[in-house]
């Protein structure tokens, strides 16, 4: 489970959105620190889950990795080249290797284009991939791969249900045969009974094409199901990073513990005995994060050092994976009777 060279390396990634005042003469009065120093590796064929609550910066992270936003600083190295610095034809070529699946199946497909045009668009943009004559057949193969009827190639998106549209979005992402797919909340807009279908599809495609996923979601159960490793984000930073059982069975950062213990388990047995860590208040604004550890304002373990010294993401004594807490300590909060 440790291949030599990672296919994606994110290093010290920072994305600040300036806050400005004034209409004609704009002055910067601050910045939303959406992503503030994020580093991780992604290996061939693995799934890295990224979890966090709204405003933690996970969607901005996806946009920067896809080169849809330029980062303030830091790098995203895909196959040895930094995509954040790439331009023109080089960027276009790099895009063939990293694609995305979006959250909302209703807004992610152009309603004026047929399914064939939508899935075929990658081939029109990258005309060297498949010769013109073979494109239609290739689109039909893709429809088949994602479990849709290849005969529906001339239909329009509004003729499909949410789950089917999500499959169309996945087919578009697969078209250029990328090695990396970034999935930004791919199932959260779907009905419960449809979520499992789409997750199984993603699972199957990963095995079939040896894809590496970055799976961004707020639903911790979904992330656990699909991920090999998990990064937990809070206010623009990764606070804990490890293998799925390291994070879910032995979380060491207080925020991860609180997050996990808040997830309702679909099993009423022993619910009275379950211990909950209920956090007080809401996350602070990313425009003005707390000094030192960003979680300290809601943390029950916080001490003076937490305000003064920012805890680095490192392996701490007594734990087996990366954690950004001065007082990291493994504690199982998910399984009842802890």
């Amino acid at each position: 489970m440790a291949p030599a060279e990672p296919i994606l390396q994110v290093r010290d990634l920072v994305k600040h959105f300036p806050l400005t005042q004034g209409i004609v003469f704009k002055r910067q009065i601050g910045a939303i620190k959406a992503v503030d120093g994020v580093s991780f590796d992604l290996h061939r064929g693995e799934t890295l889950g990224v979890v966090g609550e709204s405003g933690c910066g996970k969607s901005t992270l996806a946009k920067v990795m896809m080169a849809l936003e330029r980062p303030t600083s830091g790098s995203v190295v895909v196959d040895g080249k930094d995509i954040t610095k790439a331009k023109g034809s080089e960027l276009k070529r790099m895009r063939r290797n990293i694609q995305m699946v979006m959250q909302d199946p209703y807004t992610s497909l152009n309603p004026r284009m047929t399914v064939g045009d939508i899935i075929g668009e990658p081939f029109e943009i990258h005309s060297e991939v498949v010769p013109k004559a073979g494109r239609r057949k290739r689109v039909q193969e893709l429809l088949d791969v994602v479990g849709l009827n290849p005969d529906h190639i001339n239909r329009y998106p509004h003729q499909f249900s949410g789950g089917q549209r999500q499959r169309i979005g996945i087919a578009r992402g697969l078209a250029l045969q990328p090695e990396i797919i970034i999935c930004d909340e791919p199932v959260s807009a779907l009905d419960v009974s449809i979520q499992a279908q789409v997750m199984n599809l993603l699972d199957r495609l990963q095995k079939e094409f040896n894809l590496a996923y970055i799976f961004i979601a707020h639903d911790l159960s979904v992330v656990r199901h699909i991920s090999d490793r998990v990064a937990v984000m809070y206010l623009g930073k990764i606070v804990e990073l490890g293998g799925d059982s390291q994070i879910y069975d032995r979380p060491s950062h207080p925020y991860t513990q609180a997050l996990l213990s808040a997830v309702p388990v679909p099993n009423p047995e022993g619910r009275e005995a379950r211990q909950r860590i209920i956090l007080q208040g809401d996350p602070p604004s990313p425009a003005n994060p707390p000094s030192g550890c960003r979680f300290r304002t809601r943390c029950w373990k916080a001490q003076d050092i937490c305000a003064k010294e920012e805890p680095l993401l490192q392996i701490r004594p007594g734990t087996d994976h990366l954690s950004a807490c001065h007082f990291a300590e493994a504690r199982d909060v998910v399984h009842t009777q802890s």
């Binding site: 992610s108 152009n110 047929t114 668009e121 479990g147 239909r155 089917q164 599809l201």
Partner: protein, 315 residues
């Protein structure tokens, strides 16, 4: 789980036709086709379409409707009221009002349609550029548009037309029509720019545009494949209604003596020439005025029918 159709369903995700498609769902259907289906069922659409066809025929083949020469004047018959021989009577110069009203349709419709086309081109390009490039391009174009909007329409027209083609001058047919068309479009484009801009901005924030960018699509493809087709509807509706209001505006300018003028035949000129005779010979003014109103109404009704059909809230 032995039923073959069940396993087939599982392989193919098993999702049948979508909920929004009720019947005949095997045919591909674009949103435009849906719009057409809704339009088809609306009475107001058919009424306005019939009237539109009539007016267009009038404009294209006036001789289908009248055999008379609209320029043939018999001064002796000046201001004669309607009769079996001349249904709408004669005007001040003794010309047949019916013939002149029929021939007037051509001018009005040409001015309305061309001025609208020019407005759509100017406003559309400005709106798309402002929305797509945002930042300073948007600021500059929006401010320029606001300056034009700040000038009252009639005042602006009086100033421009009064300078280029003062009331006492007599430019030839094509020149004066071109001038009026350009003036209408120059004063009207900012509204269309606003409509285009806001609907392109709306489309720009849709995820499918992000997806296209992620695939490596350039600005040309994004604008023409993704943004324009999805922001065309409000532009189309506004343009249809605009044709009607430009026809009215052209008449207003003629009435003021600064728009079209002889030898052009137009409803506006006919009205302008006979306003002082409304007591003695109202027919010479009322018939062209009635055609003008009907024509404006036709385009406004058509525009509203299209808007209703495109409105997703009614879906």
């Amino acid at each position: 789980m032995s039923d073959p159709s069940v396993t087939q369903d599982l392989i193919h995700g098993g999702e049948g036709p979508a909920a929004s498609v009720v019947s005949a769902s095997n045919k591909p259907r674009s949103l435009w086709q849906d719009t057409w289906d809704i339009l088809k069922r609306r009475k107001i659409f058919w009424i306005s379409l019939t009237m539109l066809v009539l007016f267009l025929l009038m404009a294209a083949f006036p001789s289908l409707f009248t055999g008379k020469n609209p320029d043939y004047a018999t001064l002796a018959k000046s201001m004669e009221p309607p009769s079996g021989e001349a249904w709408f009577g004669y005007d001040l110069q003794g010309r047949d009002v019916f013939a002149r009203t029929i021939y007037g349709a051509r001018t009005s419709i040409i001015v309305g349609v061309l001025a609208t086309l020019l407005t759509v081109v100017l406003g559309g390009i400005a709106g798309v550029l402002a929305a797509y490039y945002a930042r300073w391009v948007d600021s500059v174009l929006s401010r320029v548009g606001e300056i034009f909007l700040g000038v009252p329409y009639v005042l602006g027209a009086i100033i421009i037309l009064g300078t280029i083609a003062p009331a006492q001058s007599s430019p030839d047919r094509a020149t004066i029509m071109a001038v009026v068309i350009v003036v209408l479009a120059v004063l009207g484009w900012p509204i269309l720019m606003r409509i285009a801009r806001s609907s392109v901005i709306q489309a720009k924030h849709q995820d499918y545009v992000q997806a296209a960018r992620a695939l490596g699509a350039g600005p040309f493809r994004i604008i023409f494949k993704h943004l324009l087709p999805n922001s065309l509807a409000p532009i189309l509706v506004y343009a249809t209604i605009t044709i009607g209001s430009y026809i009215g505006a052209e008449a207003t300018l003629s009435l003021l003596g600064i728009g079209l003028r002889e030898p052009v035949i137009s409803w506006g000129i006919a009205i302008a020439d006979h306003t002082s005779y409304i007591r003695t010979g109202a027919h010479a003014m009322l018939f062209p005025a009635a055609f003008l109103s009907l024509c404006v109404l036709t385009f406004v009704m058509l525009g509203e029918a299209v808007r209703d059909a495109l409105d997703p809230k009614l879906r």
